[in-house]
Amino acid sequence: MADDHHGPTVRIYLAVFASLMFLTALTVWVAYQELGMFNDVVALGIACTKATIVILFFMHVKYASRLTWLLAGAGILFLLILFAFAMADYVSRGWLGMPASHYLQ
């Protein structure tokens, strides 16, 4: 398969690396702040940002064909399915007032 798109330059790689390091430091710093339930939200937000950067640049998806975008997109879609259906279980466990709902308290 001939790849007629050009990949990222060394400068971009270094920039991506620097931002990943910065975000890692940020994660550690945020973990020591008192944000209540938002600690999780922020940590996951940073993790998702990092994953996106890695996928786009390190994994070259930004420079790849539409078919690659489609497959990468499918991966993310199926990850969302995993989250959605698993959460559907956790969220609705208490509804019948059955013993399983203890897990949520």
Binding site: M1, L67, L71, A74, G75, F78, I81, L82, F85, A86, A88, D89, Y90, V91, S92, R93, W95, L96, M98, P99, A100, Y103
Partner: protein, 543 residues
């Protein structure tokens, strides 16, 4: 280097040079990039694991001949059935058809010289072998006793067996199947011969495409789940153990998110084999080609939305259970489409009762029972009674052994002349198909009844009244074992003594039958140009 300039030249000059006689040394096999040779390597390695898994199965059946636990202790029994399951699922069933027959045929069927990434293909075999060695170390070094499902917190906290090693082995086997799936997807997208449009692809290729999608989308999840399990067991990270703040049901969600789709990895390829064989034995185009093709993709996608049917009694919420139950009923529709369409293909077909036909009939019967009993289990109320009983064991063996192993064996017979260039004695092929069919039913049908009567799975001591059916099952298992040993014997015989196979012994359609038996290293003398749809069998002659 396996493939040199000279080899290319040789295979172009003399058609009698084929992939088998093109180099003999060990190196020419172990460093080969030829998908056909890699397929042969896979056939040999999965056969070893099939034998090992079969050995553990025999131990299980042997122990269950008597109600007492007299042959082995409970601990040993736990290990024996676990290792049977782990070996059969991860080291035999998942790679069984894709890595062997699929590896051999997908490039030929699309009219390509090889897979898109030949080196990655070889890498997948090496990853598989390393995984197999790790697994064997886990087995020999004391075994593992968690069941193939590795449920937490038993596996992560309480088990005293080689969980980490076994999980690592399954993890690596998963990577090998990701690599195979990746290769198939790219090959099917980018390397089809001129004129080979999507709707001219043989249905075998469609089913392998669907299988590959599952491998790519699902396997990473089991990989990460096993990593979490290893982290919890090795370092006490709390993911699944309630004492560490984890949730054991989360493990089941993650595990089955992969493992239900994985059961389709373990059946879709055999559906592809059947489509090819049905068309050939009936000498007709597969009825409703498009429906059969799309039902593979539908199974791959819907298969990801049903995993909760393994968790009806796990404290999963009733509402989630209802959704999973309904979607599970839906996923039976594409499976039914295939079964109906194969039957419709046979209707008014020009049928010859040869080995292939015997395997087709056997497969149809066994898959039907397996699929329909799946619907019993998808009914939430009934599943409370049937869950974790021998009914479930019978259900999935009807599909995985009755379906996939039958399909694997049938396909091995069907394409044996192509792979080895030798013919096997057809009468023996029919005998083996019959032995497998009868032995299989005698082994597993009693298990439906046992399960319905309440015999739980994974126990080796049981009440006296279950003995008759258990003995029947063990008896059937020995017939089944014979059904596997016999083809092993005459197929091996045929390699050395069998008559030379013509290029197209069954008069079947498809690019693989247009090249020589066995094919040259680059599959075709020149790139084929496809001008017609698949399965264009001529008008049936009057007899």
């Amino acid at each position: 280097m396996a493939i040199t300039e000279q080899d290319v030249q040789a295979s172009e000059d003399a058609p009698s040079v084929n992939y088998l006689n093109n180099g003999y040394g060990l190196k020419s096999w172990l460093l080969t990039k030829d998908h056909k040779r890699i397929a042969v390597l896979y056939i040999i390695s999965i056969s070893i694991f099939f034998a090992l898994g079969g050995l553990f199965a025999s131990l299980v059946r042997f122990e269950l001949m008597t109600p007492e636990g007299d042959l082995m202790s409970s601990d040993t029994y736990n290990k024996v059935f676990s290792m049977h399951g782990i070996i059969m699922v991860f080291f035999f069933l998942v790679p069984s058809i894709p890595a062997t027959i699929g590896n051999f045929l997908v490039p030929i069927m699309v009219g390509a010289k090889d897979l898109a990434f030949p080196r990655i293909n070889l890498l997948s075999w090496y990853v598989y072998v390393v995984a197999g060695i790790l697994g064997t170390i886990a087995v020999v070094g004391g075994g593992v006793d968690t069941g193939w499902t590795f449920y937490t917190p038993y596996s992560s906290t309480y088990s005293n067996s080689n969980v980490i090693l076994a999980a690592m082995a399954a993890f690596m086997a998963g990577f090998s199947s990701i690599l195979t799936g990746l290769n198939f997807v790219v090959t099917i997208h980018t390397m089809r011969a001129p004129g080979m449009t999507w709707f001219r692809l043989p249905l075998f290729v469609w089913s392998h495409y669907a299988t590959s999608l599952i491998m790519l989308l699902g396997t990473p999840v089991i990989a990460i789940t096993l990593v979490l399990l290893m982290l919890e067991r090795g370092f006490g990270f709390g993911f699944f153990d309630p004492n560490l703040g984890g949730d054991p049901v989360l493990f089941q969600h993650l595990f089955w998110f992969y493992s239900h789709p994985a059961v389709y990895i373990m059946i879709l390829p055999s559906m592809g084999v059947m489509s090819e064989m049905v068309a050939s034995v009936a000498r007709k185009r597969v009825f409703g080609y498009e429906f059969v093709a799309f039902s593979s993709v539908a199974i791959a996608i819907l298969g990801f939305l049903v995993w909760g049917h393994h968790m009806f009694v796990s404290s999963q919420s009733t509402y989630a259970g209802m959704v999973f139950s309904i979607i599970t009923f839906l996923v039976a529709v594409p499976s039914a489409i295939k079964t109906f369409n194969w039957t419709a293909t046979l209707y008014k077909g020009s049928i010859v009762y040869d080995t292939s036909m015997f395997y087709v009939y056997g497969y149809l019967g066994l898959f039907l029972v397996g699929g329909l009993t799946g619907l019993f289990l998808s009914s939430m109320g009934l599943d409370i009674h049937l869950h974790d009983t021998y009914f479930v064991v019978a259900h999935f063996h009807y599909i995985m052994v009755g379906g996939q192993v039958m399909g694997y064996l049938g396909g091995m017979h069907f394409w044996w002349p192509k792979i080895t260039g030798k013919m096997f004695p057809d009468i023996w092929g029919r005998v083996s198909a019959l032995l497998v069919f009868l032995g299989f039913n005698l082994t597993f049908f009693p298990q439906f009844i046992l399960g319905y009567m309440g015999m739980p799975r994974r126990y080796h001591v049981y009440p006296d009244e279950f003995q008759v059916l258990n003995v029947a099952s063990s008896l059937g298992a020995s017939i089944l074992a014979l059904g596997y040993l016999v083809p092993g014997a005459y197929l091996t015989w045929s390699i050395f003594k069998g008559p030379k196979a013509p290029d197209n012994p069954w008069g079947a359609k498809g690019l693989e039958w247009e090249t020589t038996s066995p094919p040259p290293t680059f599959n075709f003398e020149e790139t084929p140009v496809v001008t017609e749809e698949a399965y264009q069998y001529g008008p049936i002659e009057e007899h």
